[in-house]
């Protein structure tokens, strides 16, 4: 056991020496103010979706910004389908000329402008140009499609290997078999019950692995932030809400509006509270996932920026080690948040299909 801890501390110290390259010999004070706003912009830019995969960008010797990445198609509906590459938008610097229309990026949204790229603002500094309906393949959409394809082939391979290999799993899917069984035996059956759990299993499994894979993707340096986007989590919570309420039995609604075994004045007082509860539970699911993941990303990015604020050897290495440890915790948070979402969804499904087995208590 002594040897294992020696290995860990050796690697931590080794990584601590790496940020020496952040040293530079320019004056610190006048740059600090620019750096703070640059860091804020970097963090905000990472949290939002963007129309291209921006892997790397730097300013070369002539002061021109060079971006290395992969531009994604922009698909707009503006009285007609318009498809063009997002490299025409140049990260918000230039105006895209498509057919007879001109489009410009402002705060990551596409607006229709004239040929000079004029954007008119109203009193609260919101642009008043027309924004066409945006169906583009943004970074988030491509990550979701990518994750779905990976999940599909992974689990299809696992399912097929049972037939070929005499009911024993073979291949990469072997790693996920215990997890699938765990979701069935510890999450679905205790919460939903033996009779109905099979109807909900496919959704629960998809939810668990989808959120887990997307959370892990968010931790890679590709800068993809899908589950930290409130639109994605709101859709997941909405689907849980719809499934709960559309497959609910009469007992479920009876328990909400006209609780048996409770005196009449309390029944009337409790009904609106229960109705609110029906809305608040999926809302809390949405906020929990969104806030956990985006808070984790913000903390991680701030610590990484700290490496570049401390331009000396000691500060940068300590910040690096701190950022490294926080990333390890974020991996745990990725699994935990997927698990919590799944468990709570299973719990709500269980409420919806509960059998009415306490008739005898009514008097």
């Amino acid at each position: 056991m002594l040897k294992n801890t020696h290995y860990i501390s050796f690697f931590l110290i080794l990584f601590g020496i790496l940020p020496i390259s952040a040293n530079e010999t320019k004056e610190p004070s006048s740059e600090n103010r620019d750096k703070k706003s640059e860091i804020k912009e970097y963090i905000l830019h990472h949290l939002q979706d963007s129309h291209d995969f921006n892997l790397l960008s730097y300013t070369n010797n002539e002061g021109k910004k060079i971006h290395i990445g992969l531009p994604l198609p922009v698909i707009l509906w503006d009285e007609g389908l318009k498809i063009f590459s997002s490299s025409k938008l140049h990260h918000g610097e230039s105006v895209a000329h498509v057919g007879k229309n001109y489009y410009k990026l402002e705060h990551n949204k596409i607006y229709k402008t004239n040929s000079e790229g004029l954007i008119k603002y109203d009193e609260s500094h919101h642009p008043t140009n027309i924004a066409p309906l945006d169906f583009s393949l943004t970074k988030g959409v491509v990550s979701i499609i990518f994750t779905s394809i990976i999940m599909f082939f992974l689990f299809k391979g696992l399912a097929d290997s049972y037939k070929k290999n005499n009911l024993v799993a073979n291949g990469i899917g072997r790693f996920f078999e215990p997890i699938v069984l765990y979701v069935r035996d510890e999450i679905a059956i205790p919460n939903i019950g033996e009779k109905y759990y099979k109807n909900y299993m496919s959704y629960l499994l998809t939810l668990f692995f989808f959120i887990w894979f997307l959370n892990i993707l968010g931790l890679t340096p590709l800068g993809i932030n899908v589950t930290g986007n409130i639109a994605v989590t709101s859709c997941l919570a909405l689907i849980t809400f719809l499934i709960t309420n559309l497959t609910a039995k009469k007992v479920y609604w009876k328990h909400i509006f006209w609780m048996p075994g409770v005196p009449l004045p309390m029944k009337i007082a409790l009904a609106p509270i229960e109705l609110l509860g029906v809305m608040i539970k999926p809302f809390a699911l949405m906020i929990r996932l969104y806030a956990n993941i985006s808070a984790g990303h913000i903390v991680l990015m701030s610590l990484i920026s700290l490496i570049f604020i401390f331009r000396n050897w000691l500060g940068s290495s300590l910040s690096f080690i701190l950022a490294f440890s926080i990333s390890i915790i974020e991996i745990l948070v990725a699994v935990l948040q997927a698990y919590i979402f799944t468990v709570l969804s299973a719990l709500y499904f269980g409420f919806a299909v509960e059998e009415h087995d306490h008739e005898e208590q009514d008097h």
Partner: protein, 63 residues
């Protein structure tokens, strides 16, 4: 960056800290009494902790 907002956010964090600490305390006492049930207790502890943490993110809306 008004002062009441900052104080409010700080109070939320104190609340979450006390809450999750109590959950951990209860979990450890339970495991001490029945070490065989460690798996189940751990599972329930994590669920309760995540629920309390979910409220804690209200602090983010204050700032």
């Amino acid at each position: 960056m008004e002062i009441p907002k900052i104080i409010g956010a700080g109070l939320v964090v104190i609340g979450v800290g006390i809450g999750i600490g109590n959950i951990g305390k209860g979990a450890m006492e339970a495991i001490g009494r029945q070490p065989d049930a460690t798996g189940k207790i751990q599972t329930v502890m994590l669920i309760a902790a995540a629920l309390v943490e979910g409220i804690g993110f209200a602090a983010l809306f204050a700032v």
